[in-house]
């Protein structure tokens, strides 16, 4: 994604690209930012910062290519490199969860984490959102990108700067963790 040939857009072309190709993704961008920061003001600042960067570097964007993936990549990098440091609420990281992931040879990784459709059916949105938000940021991110935003593995690999194999395994692990959280939450609520 960083290998793109530089363009030389006129000012009016830049504004057109920005309005027609970048701004239509603001809804997804804001939701992604909110799920990273858990704060409406922080999410707003992060999205604004991302769009300003996108405009500043618009000559490295090729018109008609995947603007959404490019914007998500900028937002993710802004969050990691700049935003997390000055955020009012630092990203919540469950270190035990991350450690378990990176040392997971002896962990049950089967896809068959037991979760019935009826369990999720009975939950309200808040409960599902809470379970997603409780995941460490790396796991939360892949679920958002794949299951909520519909990015392909290849796009996710480019957005996150990781190999496709890592996308696949991280996603697999994230889904199992989410299912475990939903399952234990359902049990505690007596569903």
């Amino acid at each position: 994604m960083s290998e793109r040939k530089r363009q030389d857009y006129s000012e009016s072309q830049k504004v057109t690209i920005f309005d027609k190709e970048f701004l239509p993704h603001i809804d997804s961008m804001y939701n992604f930012a909110y799920r990273l920061t858990f704060d409406e003001d922080d999410a707003k600042d992060l999205v604004q910062e991302t769009y300003l960067k996108a405009f500043r570097f618009i000559d490295s964007f090729q018109q008609g290519t995947n603007a959404k993936a490019w914007l998500f990549r900028i937002l993710k990098n802004s969050f990691i490199n700049d935003f997390r440091k000055k955020s009012k609420q630092p990203a919540k990281v469950d270190y035990q969860e991350v450690e378990t992931f990176y040392n997971s040879d002896n962990v049950d990784e089967s896809i068959t984490t037991d979760l019935r459709v009826e369990t999720v059916q009975d939950m309200i949105g808040d409960e599902v959102s809470t379970a997603l938000n409780a995941l460490a940021v790396d796991f939360r991110t892949v679920i958002i990108l794949c299951d909520l935003e519909g990015f392909t593995y290849e796009e996710m690999a480019k957005i996150l700067d990781i190999p496709i194999g890592t996308v696949r395994s991280r996603l697999h692990r994230a889904r199992n963790l989410l299912k475990e959280k939903l399952q234990s939450y359902a049990q505690s609520m007596g569903y």
């Binding site: 604004q48 990784e109 999720v120 309200i124 194999g165």
Partner: protein, 106 residues
């Protein structure tokens, strides 16, 4: 099943082991191809499966009830989670605020 698919399964298994993922556990004891199915299932669900994988899985679930049930359940759970995750509304002044800042730079 072609040599390509066999090699893919081997490399996928190797990759999975490197990433710390194992699909060895088989709790669908009625399925004779469980490991293969689990390796392919997520690709199918995520629209990442090759035509060979699609064909394998399509034919397999026609004769394997545990895997048919599994994929149906997985599909439904993913759809439900997507449906239940609440969307935040973009603040009404955000677009204007971004455009104003850009105007300052042009």
């Amino acid at each position: 099943m072609g040599i390509f698919f066999t090699n893919w399964l081997k490399s996928n298994k190797k990759q999975s082991q490197q990433e710390g993922v194992s699909s060895e556990k088989n709790d669908c004891s009625d399925c004779t191809d469980f490991n293969k199915c689990m390796a392919v299932l997520e690709n199918v669900l995520d629209n990442e499966a090759s035509p060979v994988e699609h064909q394998f899985f399509k034919e397999h679930i026609e004769k394997c009830m545990p895997c048919f049930t599994k994929i149906t359940n997985e599909k439904d759970i993913r759809a439900l989670i997507k449906l239940k995750i609440q969307k935040k509304t973009v603040p009404s002044d955000l677009v204007q605020s971004i455009k104003s800042k850009i105007q300052e730079t042009v």
